[in-house]
Structure formats: C-alpha cells, structure tokens
C-alpha cells in the first residue's frame, strides 16, 4: 500500500528520479519532435498520476517539454487520481489539464456491456430501460470516463507513477495492473489527435517514453506472480548462456531460484521490467535498445515501516512495419526481437541505480522543488 500521509512532494529521492531519470528521457523526446518537419511538429501529450502538486507536470513545463496552449492551459496533460476531490485540486495547479476521478484500474477495466466499446457510444445518454438511480448513474459515468480516457490516447510520454504494488495478492492472475497496461499499450496505437498543420492522413505514434513506478512486493505476493517472473528470467538465461555468469558475478546468485529465495529485491528488479518489455512486445511495441530500461530504486521510511520503490524509465518504439501490415502469424519484427534481447541483457549487466539521500543531496537538481513550486503559484497563487 502507498504510504498515507507521506510527504511525497518533498521527497528528495523522488525528485532525484524526476530530474535525473524522467527529465532526460522527456527532453530527448521533445528534441526528437523539434527535429521533425514543420508539419509533423506538435505539442507533446503527457499522461500522469501526478498527485495534487503536479510537480512532474510543472517540471516538464519549466523544461519546455510540454508546451502550453495559446490560452496558457495544460490541455495536453491527462491525469488520474483515485481521490475524487484531489482531481479538482490538481486542476487548480495545472489548469486546462484533463483529470479523471476514480480508480484508474477500475475505469480502464470497466466491463463494457456493449463489449465492442464503440468509441462514440453515448454512455451518458439517458438509458431507456433503467431508472434514474445512483447505481445506473455510477455505471454510466464509469463507462463515459473510460470512453473519454480512450479518446485521450495516445501520449508521447506515459508516466505510470502508481506508487503501489503492480502485483496485488488478491488480484486474479495476471493481475489487474498487467491487464490494464496491456489495454493502455493497445490504446497507444490510436491515431494522433489533430494539431495545426497536421498531415491529412491519420497518423499514429511511432514511439513514446514510458515511466513505470511500483513498490517491491507485496510481502504476500502470490506464487503465480513469482512463477511468472521466474519463468521470464529462466527463459532469458536459457537463451543467453552468459547471463548466468553475469547474474552470479553481479548479485551472487547461481540461478534464478537462488535469486528469488536469497535476493528477492533483485529478483523483482529484474523480473518487473522483463514483464513490461514482454507486454510491449506483445502489443506491437518494443523497448528501444539504445537506452534500454533504466531502473532507479530507493527505500522509503514511514510510520508503517520501510519499503522499496522502483522507477523504470524507457523509450518505446512501434514495431515497423506494424502488425496489420505484416504477414499473418509472422511474429514480431526482427528489429524488435533484437532490441528485446539487447534490453534484457542490459538489465542483467547494468543493474539499478540505488538512490540515497547522499546521492540526492550531492548535486543541485534543476529545476529544484522551489523553482517548480514558484512556477505552480503562477497558476494557483493560494498554493503554499
């Protein structure tokens, strides 16, 4: 569970990840957009679980990664918050942003009665056969939100800063988070939204930046999940014989079983990005091998005890040609398979960056939290 009452915004470790992990990737994406021809350049779209303070949004605004509209609005930012009143609080700080109240997973996985989920289905129209009751309205609103959320895709930067467990003990395997991610990566293939000078033909994203955050755990993680992680790692070692030696040299585990039993955190740190990379591959994307997946880890102490946060950052590319233009049953593209192998190897060799207070305070982080808050006050002067 997330640490209730923890001052997330002030956490220097988290800010280190923002500035040293997220920001360089996002800036690179902005540069790539700036290098495009005039008709292809556009304002980047950003999806986040930014929390009330919207620190990440303002950081990207200061860095000019997300440019504001002519009306000085953050209308290219979309966010979710499970605390319904937190959405409105956040919108005060990033006016114009599209905020969704409610549980992200519930909304994404809402069981659409029409099954086909026609994008333009009018879920909010008065139903002809149901009474105007709370349960009816609730259902309408969830389906409506889901429809609107899908319409908001795709995003150039997706920041899934979940601050909770990716694998929940009570979730039926493979877990709601994994299922939701699968859908999200599918929706990332939706055509891009209109922008000035946009080419007439429908355009889809060919790449995006993905940030994913989770806690290590839970302590009672079910066997199905650990088996999944173990199988992924065993497959890798089976196909790349030298990985076993690397694993032993770097962590001291002779095999995956030993890694799981004696070095659970490392097991988790290796396994989760593998799951992400596999999910992306399955949905016709792949992790760019140039930078691979960067992992940041830090420990967080709060009244409920200590837990470890993991932040993964990666650039994601679309398999080319996309699936619909490949021969039936032809599998993934060669480029994607090579990149996948390279990314996995790198995970084994590179390890993660353990962020500590010493590291976080050893350098000046730009923009600082103070700079970001000053920028935020421009939009919400009462913010203190």
């Amino acid at each position: 569970m997330a640490a209730q009452g923890f001052a997330f915004e002030d956490c220097p470790l988290k800010h280190y990840v923002r500035v040293k992990g997220w920001l360089p990737h996002c800036k690179a994406r902005k540069r790539a957009n700036a290098d495009l021809g005039p008709s292809e350049q556009r304002r980047l779209r950003y999806f986040t679980f930014c929390a009330i303070g919207a620190i990440d949004v303002h950081m990207l605004n200061i860095a000019k990664v997300i440019s504001l509209s002519r009306e000085d609005k953050f209308d290219n930012v979309v966010f979710f918050d499970r605390e319904t009143d937190a959405v409105l609080e956040t919108q005060k700080r990033i006016p114009g942003a599209m905020g969704f109240p409610g549980n992200f997973i519930d909304v994404v996985l809402a069981n659409d009665p029409a099954a086909t989920l026609a994008e333009d289905h009018d879920y909010l129209a008065p139903p002809l056969d149901l009474q105007d009751e709370y349960s009816t309205r609730r259902e309408q609103l969830i389906y409506g939100q889901r429809r609107d959320f899908i319409k908001a895709f795709p995003f150039d930067i997706v920041n899934l800063d979940l601050e909770e467990f990716a694998f929940k003990a009570n979730d039926p395997f493979p877990g709601k988070v994994i299922t939701a991610l699968r859908k999200l990566f599918e929706w990332q293939k939706n055509p891009l939204h209109a922008w000035p000078n946009r080419p007439k033909k429908s355009v889809c994203l060919d790449s995006f930046t993905l940030m994913f955050t989770t806690q290590i755990g839970p302590p009672n993680i079910s066997k199905e999940y650990t088996d999944m992680l173990r199988e992924y790692l065993e497959q890798n070692i089976a196909s790349h014989s030298d990985l076993s030696g690397i694993l032993h040299e770097r962590i001291g585990a002779t095999n995956v079983a030993a890694l799981q039993s004696d070095h659970f955190e490392d097991f988790f740190k290796l396994g989760v990005p593998k799951v992400l990379a596999s999910l992306l591959l399955e949905t016709d994307w792949y992790v760019d091998a140039d930078k691979g997946i960067t992992t940041f880890a830090f420990k967080r102490n709060w009244t409920g005890g200590e837990y470890t946060m993991l932040h993964f950052v990666m650039d994601v590319k679309r398999q080319e040609p996309p699936r619909q233009r490949r021969a039936p049953n032809s599998g993934h593209t060669a480029g994607a398979i090579d990149a996948y192998a390279s990314v996995v190897r790198r995970l084994f060799t590179q390890g993660d960056l353990e962020v500590t207070n010493e590291i976080a305070s050893s350098i000046e982080l730009k923009p600082s939290l103070e700079e970001i808050r000053a920028c935020r006050r421009k939009y919400y002067p009462e913010d203190v």
């Binding site: 509209s69 009306e71 000085d72 609005k73 209308d75 319904t84 009143d85 959405v87 409105l88 919108q91 005060k92 006016p95 114009g96 599209m98 905020g99 969704f100 109240p101 009018d122 879920y123 909010l124 129209a125 008065p126 009474q131 105007d132 009751e133 709370y134 309205r137 609730r138 309408q140 609103l141 409506g144 939100q145 609107d148 939009y379 919400y380 009462e382």
Partner: protein, 516 residues
C-alpha cells in the same frame, strides 16, 4: 380559526427543482461564500470532462452543529445566520445559507461538504440524496415520508448524511468546500457535447478575452453550456467589472469602486470572472441615462435603487443575453438580463435590442423575490413601484432620445447619399461628354413653371442645370433619380444624330443605375 400549513412535501420537492440553470444553483453557493467573508470562491468543473463539480471558499466556515441543524430541518428555514454576524469589507449580508447548499442536488445525487472555521475546528460530511424522490413523495413511500410522533404532520426525508470520522482539520483549508461525488450524466453529457459546438472556443485565461469571444456571437448558446455557465455566473455574482471604463462616461465607476472594496473574487476553472459587459467603439455612439438614486416608499416600506440604461445606437447588442435590464439586490443578480424590460408595454421594435441596463436595489425588493431568487413576484408593490419608475424613464427619456438620434442619423445618411449620387451623376455625364461637366440645381421661378433641365455648352465645360428635387412632381424617393435621368436625356439630346443620341442616353443611363 384553523391555521394554514404548508405541506413538508413542498419543501422536499423544492430541494430537487429550485433553480433553472446550474449557474443559478452555483450562484447561491457563491453567495454563501460572500456571507462567510470569503475573499475567493473557486468553482471547479473538471473541464473538459465535467465528471465533478466543486465550489469552495476561503471564508469563515461553519460548524458541524450548524451543518447538522441545517440538515435536520433548517434547510429552507427562514432562520438565517445570526443577525449579529460581522461582515467584513463593508459587505451587505446576502443571507441565504440553506436551500442553496441543496441546490447542488439538481446536478448530483451525492456530495461532500467540508468546512473549517477560523478557530481550526471543522468537519467533513458526505450527503447522499434519495433517488427518485419525487416519485416516492407522490406515492407516500414510507422510506421518505413518515408521521410525526403526535401524528400532527408528516415528516419528509430527502436524504442522509454522515460525518467522516477520520477528518483531520489540520489538513484542510479554512472555509467551506462542496464537492460533488456523482455529477448527473445528463449534466456531464450536455457540457461535454457543448465543447463540440462549431463556435465553441477554448476558455481564455483572462476575462477580457472571454468578453471579446462572447461579443462575437449572437447568443451565448452558440458557444455552448460551458460558456453559458461562465457568462451567467459572471453576470450574477457580486464581482467587479473588467474596468471602471468598461462603459462610456464612466457609468459604473462608482459601482466598480464599491465592488472592488468588497475584495471578493470568483474563479471558474482558474478563470477570474468579471461582469460580462464592455461596450465601446460603436460608430453611432451610445445613448446613456443614469438612474439617479431613488427612494420610494410603497406601503411605507423603503425601496432604494439606482442604475443606468445604455443604448448602443443602431447596433444590436451581442450576445443577445446582454439585452434588457438586470436587477441586482445587494449586488447579486436576480435572474439575468430581462429582454422584456420588466414587462415594458411599448413595442420599440429593433431598438429594444440595442438596450441594456442594470438596476441596483440597495434596500427593499427582497420580499418581492420568488423562492428561486431568480425572478420576482411581478405584482409585489415594491416591484411595481420600481417597474413604473423604470418604464417612465424608458418611455419618456430613453426611447425619445433614441428616436431623435435615429432621425439625426437618417437625415445625415440621406444627405450623404444625395451628395454621393450628385457626384456620381457628374461623373457619368463627364464620361459621355468630351468636356468637363458641372451640375447644379435651381429652384423653379414659379409654381406654374415646369421643372426643366437645361444644358449649356460653354467653351470649356458643359453646364447642366437640374431642377431642385422638391420641384419634381413624383414620389419623394424617386425625385433625385428622375432629375438625374432628365439631365442625361438633355445631354444626350445635344448629340448630332439620332443614333448617337440614343447611344449616349443608353450608355449614360446604365452607368448611372449601376451605382444608384
């Protein structure tokens, strides 16, 4: 004599259908913020999704006990906040906590109220209103209607509330916040659809720009429900104007000073609202009438008001919603601009679409309000007294001046046109003649002499003398044309051959008519 009671059900019905628009319901919550000495009220709509709605102020807040009292039967009770309540910034008290809070029930079925007072205490409560209340009331459903213990009257419940035990006032802001938990899908849908309207424009970050946008449409409805909400709130809340110069002759500068002194701001989705009127640069100018402070005493009760009426000469006001008269009581608008001008009985045709005005009632009129605070009982003596005064101003001062201005403009226009046509005639004659042409008109020598055209060929120019229009015996509107054609005819007749005469006349006539 037996006493007459009003059935509790009536009030229960009111809790679900009091206001005619979301803005009217929200305006009541803004008024609550005003009365609570708030300096800022923020309305958040979750634009562009509209799945939530919140109104919060940074005012004095109120206690859990007061909330419980309101929910336990104080809603709609005439018992107002303590009369001794100290208002800051010289504000008059609007005084209507209660039914306004439940007004949000027209938009949602449940909501959360959080309030923190200056002493640091506070509460958070979730309110859930019963579904299908009207049907249940009509069928005396026992879940909402029950008899009192003494069987004297029926008790009606409209919903339930629950205090949140884990509420920590230290983490809350001072003031009161009302946040909807489930906005009705009909509201969400309407607002979402309105963003797809052809003329919809993204709301700007400054109100002046918003005024520019609404001034570009015939009706706010072309911009959709979201803009209507912005506009209606801006028109009805006690917020300042864009500037003291937003109307000619500093018509509202005194009012502006007063409004600014109240130190009260209302934001909707980070856009600070100002009054939605800004008139300037009309080519034909403005007719202005100040309504000096009036003190009337119908049935011995004080009625004080002042205001202004302004007519944008010759040009329809945009948007339409700005047409008519708006009455404010203690700075809060009652309804919106009334295009019927308080049932004005004269038909002024298109002139009435040029007129706007505001009447500020500083004392009285409150008893003439209907319960929705959006309209008046039109036969209330105080309303009638004000109405009569305003109508006399309109009928005796404003519209006569407007008609005078119309006449001036018409005669100016006619003169300009006549000059232009004479110049055109000269040009046409010059084109068919080898010499420069001069045209002048003369009055005929006697009533019996025919109105004739003469042409004199002089060595350097052709002099055409046409009769004064008044001397040409045909329809007034055709006189200048007739005299011009006669001139063309006479000039053509000076040509040497029939063919040539016919050709010159035909050419010059067509040329004349091409720009007539």
């Amino acid at each position: 004599m037996p006493k007459i009671h009003v059935h509790e059900k009536a009030l229960a019905h009111l809790s679900r259908g009091l206001y005619r628009s979301p803005a009217s319901a929200l305006r009541e919550l803004v008024s609550n913020g005003w009365d609570a000495n708030a300096t800022v009220v923020r309305i958040s709509t979750n634009y562009p999704n509209f799945y939530q709605l919140a109104v919060e102020d940074n005012g004095d807040g109120f206690s859990a006990e007061e909330f419980a009292r309101l929910m336990g039967g104080g809603i709609g009770n005439s018992e107002k906040r303590p009369a001794a309540k100290k208002m800051k910034y010289g504000r008059p008290i609007i005084g209507r906590l209660g039914i306004g809070m439940l007004g949000i029930a027209q938009i949602c079925g449940s909501f959360t109220v959080t309030s923190k007072m200056k002493d640091g205490t506070g509460f958070r409560a979730k309110v859930k209103l019963y579904d299908l209340l009207k049907e249940k009331l009509d069928t005396n459903d026992s879940s909402v209607v029950s008899s009192s213990s003494d069987q004297q009257f029926e008790e009606v419940d409209v919903g339930v509330y629950d205090f949140e035990e884990q509420y920590d006032p230290n983490k809350a802001n001072f003031g009161t916040a009302i946040v909807t938990d489930d906005v009705h899908p009909a509201f969400v849908r309407a607002f979402q659809l309105s963003l797809k309207f052809e003329k919809f424009r993204k709301p700007p970050s400054q109100w002046q720009k918003a005024i520019d946008i609404v001034s570009g449409v015939r009706s706010i409805q072309e911009l959709g429900d979201y803009w209507r909400l912005l506009w209606e709130l801006a028109a009805s809340c006690p917020v300042p104007y864009v500037s003291a110069n937003c109307l000619p002759q500093k018509l509202i500068s005194d009012e502006q000073k007063l409004l600014e002194s109240y130190n009260f701001k209302v934001f909707v989705d980070s856009l600070e609202l100002k009054k939605p009127i800004h008139l300037k640069g009309n080519p034909a100018g403005y007719t202005i009438r100040r309504i000096q402070p009036q003190h009337l005493t119908p049935y011995g009760r004080n009625l004080r008001f002042h205001g202004y009426i302004i007519v944008q000469e010759g040009a329809q006001l945009k948007p339409d919603e700005l047409r008519g008269l708006l009455i404010r009581i203690k700075n809060v608008a009652i309804g919106y601009y009334d295009p019927g001008m308080l049932d004005y009985r004269y038909n002024e045709g298109p002139r009435s679409r040029w007129l706007t005005g505001e009447i500020y009632a500083t004392e009285g009129l409150e008893d003439a309000l209907n319960i929705d605070r959006d309209s008046f009982n039109r036969f209330h003596p105080q309303f009638r007294a004000m109405q009569e005064y305003v109508h006399s101003v309109l009928h005796e001062k404003v519209f006569p001046e407007v008609y005078k201005q119309i006449e001036v403009r018409s005669s100016d226009r006619a003169l300009t046109k006549r000059t232009e046509r004479t110049s055109h005639l000269t040009q046409v004659l010059s084109d068919v003649s080898t010499k420069p042409v001069s045209v002048r008109s003369v009055t005929k020598s006697s009533d019996y002499a025919p109105a004739e055209v003469s042409v004199k060929r002089e060595s350097k120019q052709l002099q055409v003398v046409i009769p004064d229009e008044a001397d040409i015996l045909t329809k007034k509107s055709n006189r200048q044309l007739a005299s011009s054609i006669l001139a063309l005819f006479e000039v053509a007749m000076n040509e040497p051959t029939d063919t040539r005469r016919r050709e010159v006349f035909r050419r010059s006539l067509l040329s004349l008519l091409s720009k007539w």
